[in-house]
């Protein structure tokens, strides 16, 4: 009997197995319960694939979308606000991949571990300001593109608009045709554009850190320069000029020369260091990766790559993070589309460059505004910026870029504006940026 007694303990192996399994199950439930519950087939919160309860508001509590209790959703009152926020909110049918109704369905369902989805209906607070988004959308005036404004101290996006939109309350019957090209995509997160001259900030950062005599140099621009398989040209001959003037005048020849001297490997490394060729995570959204191709020394491709042409591609959100780092002494906070709690500390900043490099870039960006863009065009803004006019070929008008930040007292905002086929960077995108920033300052609280 004694033997059998002892052997009976083998049933406890099964007990142990069940206990381990249950702990694992509860752990998985705690980690993924929200995702599990937020499935369109879950009839306790969805009907016909549409969420039955929940609310999304902007940072000021303005209701952007709410379940109407009859199986449908109502959105913001104002049509331009609805169009401006379409890509952040999504629609109840789940067409917009980046929409909060899809990405944060678990938060909107009101799921939590203790009550499950009982009672239903949570409130999701976005970091954006609906008014600012509406202003950005209006400033784009129907042109496709994206506008984003971020608080570079906290990483909260106050504006994240993608243009090329429709009214989710009255969706058009057909979304075919050029006007709706890429209409389901949030261009801030999911697009990658040829950057044009805004890429010169990257080349400049590499030059500042790698060429000790950069500020003593005197460059000469004859309007064009020859390389092994082609040439680089400027709109006009800039003559002799210092580094600051080369950036302010956006001289292709000088930046082609700097790129050739630095080489593709170094520029590629800087792109990676600044997070421009990798994917960034913005809460649960993933940005598209940018691209920088390393060309052989001496080629025109390498030269052009330093001026943001060749095969360069940049994602606007990653670019925003990069200029936020310049604004914030070289370190950037992670970007957020959800309003961050006032109590919990924010995630740590990531240092992208040395403080000295950031300050040197800031100085030269301010010089660009003063010398080229005209401070008068940006009244009341202590602006630091760089424009880009990215040639896209095929006879199309170039994409207009405008990136930068302001250092107005207590208003730490960085921005990125892209107007597809908008023409001149400073003229087209700069005007949009000014309009949005003026609203941001007026509404600042």
């Amino acid at each position: 009997m004694k033997r059998i007694q002892k052997r009976t303990w083998c049933v406890l192996l099964l007990v142990l197995g069940i206990l381990i399994g249950l702990v694992l199950y509860i752990w998985r439930l705690a980690a993924h319960g929200g995702e599990w519950a937020a499935q369109p087939y879950n009839r306790s919160v969805y009907r016909n694939g549409i969420l039955q309860s929940g609310t999304i508001t902007d940072r000021n509590g303005v209701i952007l979308a709410t379940a109407d209790g009859n199986g449908g959703w109502t959105y913001a009152e104002d049509i331009s606000a609805r169009r401006a926020l379409l890509h952040l909110i999504g629609d109840s049918s789940g067409n917009i991949g980046t929409g909060a109704l899809s990405v944060y369905a678990d938060r909107v369902t009101g799921y939590d571990f203790v009550t499950g989805t009982y009672g239903g209906g949570g409130t999701l607070v976005l970091s954006v300001d609906a008014e600012l988004c509406r202003a950005a959308s209006e400033a784009l005036a129907g042109r496709r593109g994206t506008v984003a404004v971020v608080n570079y101290e906290t990483g909260e996006l106050l504006c994240a608009v993608s243009s090329g939109s429709y009214d989710p309350a009255n969706p058009p019957k057909s979304l075919e045709g050029e006007a709706y090209e890429g209409v389901y995509m949030h261009r801030l997160f999911s697009a990658a554009y040829t950057p044009g001259s805004v890429f010169k900030l990257v080349t400049a950062a590499a030059a500042i850190e790698n060429l000790p005599d950069l500020y003593e140099r005197v460059f000469t621009c004859t309007g064009s320069a020859a390389y092994t398989n082609g040439g680089v040209s400027c709109m006009k001959a800039h003559g002799t000029l210092a580094f600051e003037d080369a950036l302010a005048d956006s001289c292709n020849c000088v930046f082609a020369e700097l790129a050739s001297e630095l080489g593709g490997e170094i520029l590629s490394e800087y792109c990676a260091r600044f997070g421009l060729t990798g994917r960034q995570t913005v809460d649960r959204l993933q940005t598209a990766a940018g691209k920088y191709t390393v060309f052989p020394d001496g080629t025109a491709d390498l030269a052009w790559s330093g001026a943001g042409q060749a095969e360069d591609l940049l994602n606007p959100a990653s670019m925003l993070r990069f200029v936020a780092a310049i604004a914030n002494q070289g370190s950037s906070p992670a970007l957020h589309v959800l309003k961050q709690s006032d109590i919990l500390p924010f995630g740590g900043n990531v240092r992208l460059m040395k403080t000295e490099t950031a300050e040197a870039l800031a100085r030269v960006m301010h010089y660009c505004v003063v010398k080229t863009y005209g401070a008068d065009n940006y009244p009341g803004l202590e602006l630091y910026a760089k424009s880009g006019t990215a040639e896209v070929g095929g006879g199309a008008k170039p994409h207009a870029w405008f990136v930068g930040f302001i250092r107005n007292e207590g208003i730490p905002l960085a921005f990125v504006v892209v107007v597809e086929n908008g023409g001149s960077g400073s003229a087209a995108a700069g005007a949009v940026a000014n309009s949005v920033l003026q609203t941001a300052i007026k509404n600042w609280r």
Binding site: M1, V11, L12, V15, L29, W36, Y41, T117
Partner: protein
Amino acid sequence: MNGLEAVVSAFADWFSCGVRFVLPVLAILIVVRCGLSLLQRDAEDIEVWGWLTLPNGSRVALRHWENILGRSGSSDVCLAYPTLSRRHAAIIRDMRGNWVLYDLHSRHGVRLNRDPIGGQAELHAGDLLSLGDVDLVFLPLTAEEETAQAESRTVPGRTIRPGFTLLLLLLFQLLLTLQHCIAADQADVLQISVCFFVLILLTWCAYLLIRAMRRTGFEIETLAFLLSSVGFSVAATSAPGFMWKNTLCLVLGVGLFFCIGWCLRDLNRVRRLRWAAAAAGLLLLAVNVFTAESLLGARNWLSIGRFSFQPSELVKVFFVFAGAATLDRLFRKRNIWLFVVYSGLCVLALAVISDFGTAVVFFTAYLVIAYLRSGDAATVILSVAAALFAGATAITLRPYIAVRFSRWGNAWADLNGYGYQQTRTMTAAASGGLFGQGAGKGWLHTVVAADTDMVFGVVSEELGLLIALCLVAALLLLAVFVACASRHSRSSYYSIASAAAVSILLMQVILNVFGSMDMLPFTGVTFPFVSRGGSSLIASWGLLAFIRAADTRQNASFTVKLPKRRKTENDQ
């Protein structure tokens, strides 16, 4: 009239919300009270059934009804004399208090009162046993000593009253009934309430019957009735029109429980019935292999008239009944080989009808029985190796099993194909939270086989994770009880049978819960007592009888005869 309806509707809403919190509290209280009562043992509660006087004058107690004498340290009576074999002899007592001495193929033989015994001989008080050259005097407990011992043993229900636990269960059942009546269609209310009423009636009849038999332990039955009540809740949600079937099966199950329990009272009767049970099991499986129809993948359903049932469920009971053995049988090699062949036939039959989940459950029971009987880790390892080989063969012969294996763990990657049932289970379970959406208010039961194979999800969704965990805890408790009770076990038959029965229940829990949650391949095994399905419920109650028989606390179990009554028999 409208005013009254409004009040009723407001009450219904208020009740449905509040009862979600009351039910888990009751379930936890019931499980905790049963657990404390089951695992509570008085410190001095060690049974002694006789004494052996050693050559040096000291006495050794016989603590079981089956005792091994030998040189080995694992013997019940360890005698370190060189002429003894490691396992020399066995002394075994039967229900009536008769003792038999067995020679376990010892090297130097066993003599009784100087005469060599053949294989076995009856023992009487004062007999002189000679094992090799060691002489021992045998003295069984006198009737007075036995009575005194009975009084000092643990009596269940003395500190934790089973009646009160049962009142908690009654409240649980009543609240559940009311909630289902609120949530269900008007047309089903009558059937639901009548069936729940029968469940409650049956609970109390069983209790009163056991009290009438002067037994005081009711924890194991209470746990099973708790599980069955939740099973009724699942049935009321998923198929209220067929609740009468569930009720009928519960009546049959409880009947089977008492039937087997009664059989187990007398081990001689068990010995006689073992062969019949083994044959009945094989016969059922044979009928299954040749006639059963295919339903939901496995060909394990048998239809007779309006009833369809799974014979393999009932075979579990026969398997345990035939597989366990008393100590005197354990040392005959022939027996274990017969058992191995018998198990192989069972598992093979299940594999033929593609019921692989149940095959795994049987195999687990086989491993437990084989290990308990032989104590030989090598046998177990060999068996596992053979099973893996057989499993690999099965996978190559039946490609859909290979598919199941390759996709297991990736349910979300194919949530409308392979992972359809698992993802629905996880979604519904998460939606329930700790307290559930309310009985009768879930949707998972509309998915195919939800009320049997994914029942853990249905319970989590409607009654909440806490109650779902209580169900598992109730069965874990039975396993811990079985492991602890074996210390006091009188016969190895009870130890082996209870361990095998509880292993079957636990293995079903493992496959059911973790299969439906995509942590193991989804095999479609029932959750004991809870899954809707008649044969599973009946079999669960049948297996419970073996666990009940392991309970040797004083006056606890109806499967153990009362010693007082036996004493009066002896006096006559």
